[in-house]
């Protein structure tokens, strides 16, 4: 079954730049999909439209049964509760511990304390940081900070995990660690993962589905793709 269905989507920014032209595709539940393309190819815009940070100017986006384009600002939280998001810059609260950072995601949606504790510990275990729950982000390496961010993104058991260049700030070794964590989440939790990246190495090694964008056009959607230089 398809978790995401995108139909004839176009995104034109207010400054006149068109980031996405007439994009149609479907992503099935449990998939692991890379979105690749050079800068300005529209991959970030695509991710942003999936969590309704940006609205498509035309077309339809369905995520987990929600019509994202028609979602009112007030109701965006309903979508956000169904998905987790990971960024290049981690976006952690520096004055709070690892545990508190992950728990924050459940606190703001009003979860009871016992449930928070149980889910936070499970998520931190999944990313391999159970021994660092009382540390502050500053005391962790970049890779570890990103794993905290991933734990926060999955703590709510989302169906979909969106990653916008999650390894952009990390060296190749740490990047592969992160990929391992994401792969485990995809396999063990069944979470659908969509990851925008421009890291060839990762894409070629992981052998996952690949969406290739160029200048806002869909070039390719391969089941077991590699990073093709010519296409980009």
């Amino acid at each position: 079954m398809d978790l995401i269905r995108i139909r004839n989507v176009e995104k034109k920014y207010k400054n006149g730049v068109t980031a996405i032209y007439d994009l149609s595709l479907a992503i099935e539940k449990g998939a692991f999909v890379f979105v690749i393309g050079g800068s300005g190819s529209g991959k970030s815009t695509l991710i942003k439209m999936l969590y309704r940070e940006e609205k498509p100017t035309q077309g339809q986006i369905i995520v987990g049964g929600l019509d994202v384009a028609k979602l009112k600002n007030k109701k965006v939280y309903k979508l956000r509760r169904k998905l987790g998001i990971v960024f290049q810059d981690y976006r952690l609260l520096m004055k709070q511990t690892v545990y508190e950072n992950v728990a924050f995601a459940l606190e703001v949606i009003g979860a009871p304390k016992d449930e928070i504790r149980q889910k936070v510990l499970k998520a931190l275990e999944d990313v391999g940081l159970k021994n660092k729950i009382h540390n502050y982000p500053e005391q962790l390496s970049g890779g570890e900070q990103q794993r905290v961010a991933i734990a926060r993104a999955i703590v709510n058991d989302p169906k979909l995990l969106l990653c916008d260049e999650p390894t952009g700030n990390l060296d190749p070794e740490k990047s592969m660690e992160i990929m391992q964590v994401l792969d485990d989440i995809n396999k063990n939790r069944g979470t659908t993962i969509i990851m925008a990246t421009h890291d060839k190495e990762i894409v070629n090694r992981m052998k996952k589905q690949v969406i290739t964008l160029k200048d806002g056009h869909l070039v390719n959607f391969k089941k077991k793709g590699t990073y093709n230089n010519e296409a980009v």
Binding site: N73, Y77, R80, K82, F104, A105, I109
Partner: protein, 299 residues
């Protein structure tokens, strides 16, 4: 359950924020305090003025004297015509004899002089005492009465009453103007305070958005913070109102300058006034923070 939990967290965050941005919070609180003191004075003054205008209005009567030669038939005619005037609440008629008796009761001198006059040669006139519905239209009503045949004189203490009512209503307007201006200034100050606390927590708000906090959840701590500022700002004004008015009332023994102006009794007046002051404080805080949040969170 969930709502209480969220509310608890919001209140905790609000107090944290007030303490964390203490100097700015203090500025807002002082501004609210000053505003509310003036608001309290204005409320006390205007309610007292209202109270006392009403008292005067209650006592305000138009006295109508008929011509000395008015017959019983004339009296009947005049009565009919008075009934037709809309602004008239009630009237009482006193004929010459009654007027004489009343005057005799009022003073010994009158008693001695009037005793020897019989009805025929009495210079006294039949009178109507008339109460009006709306005091503002009293002069209009008086003019209408004056135009009725056989009515010779109409009296209602015109000059003094008009001036008094005018003076008080303009005082009221001025105080309302000042109060509104002060409230607006205070709201702007609160908007700025809350904006700063929002700035400090922008990162957290961004993350809250990402992980699916509803606008309600994001907004509530800031609105509660505004209400807390309002509440803290109303403490001194409430004390001021309560004890200030009590002292004022005692000092003047319940009357201002003359027996004509009676002050409102302190209880329960000071309690309701305090409640209004606290209410305004909280409202101002809430409005200020709500509009600050609205602008900043693009909700």
């Amino acid at each position: 359950m969930k709502l209480f939990r969220m509310l608890g967290r919001s209140i905790r965050d609000a107090f944290k924020s007030v303490i964390r941005n203490f100097s700015l919070s203090l500025a807002s609180i002082s501004c609210i305090t000053i505003t509310l003191i003036i608001v309290a004075v204005a409320i006390i003054a205007s309610l007292n003025v209202q109270n006392f205008t009403k008292e005067i209005e209650k006592d305000l009567t138009i006295v109508v004297f008929l011509d000395t030669d008015a017959t019983d038939k004339d009296v009947e005619d005049v009565t009919e015509k008075i009934k037709k005037i809309q602004n008239i609440e009630s009237y009482t008629f006193k004929d010459k004899v009654e007027v004489k008796e009343q005057m005799q009761l009022e003073s010994d001198v009158f008693n001695a002089v009037l005793e020897n006059w019989d009805v025929e040669e009495s210079p006294l006139k039949h009178t109507f005492q008339i109460k009006v519905k709306e005091v503002e239209k009293i002069s209009e009503t008086a003019t209408k009465l004056k135009s009725i045949d056989k009515i010779s004189v109409v009296r209602y203490g015109e000059g003094m009453v008009d001036k008094l009512i005018n003076a008080f209503s303009s005082i009221e307007k001025v105080t309302y103007g000042i109060v509104i201006a002060l409230i607006v200034v205070t709201i702007f100050l609160i908007i700025n305070t809350i904006k700063l606390t929002i700035d400090a927590r922008k990162r957290a708000i961004g993350i809250m958005r990402l992980v699916g906090a509803s606008n309600f959840t994001i907004r509530t701590p800031f609105i509660i913070e505004g209400m807390v500022l309002g509440l803290l700002g109303s403490i001194i004004p409430v004390i001021f109102t309560t004890y200030g008015y009590l002292a004022f009332y005692e000092h003047f023994n319940g009357y201002l300058f003359t027996k004509l102006i009676r002050l409102i009794e302190p209880e329960p007046f000071i309690y309701t006034t305090s409640l209004i002051v606290v209410g305004i404080g909280i409202m101002v805080g809430m409005i200020g923070s709500a509009s600050a949040v609205k602008r900043y969170l693009k909700v």
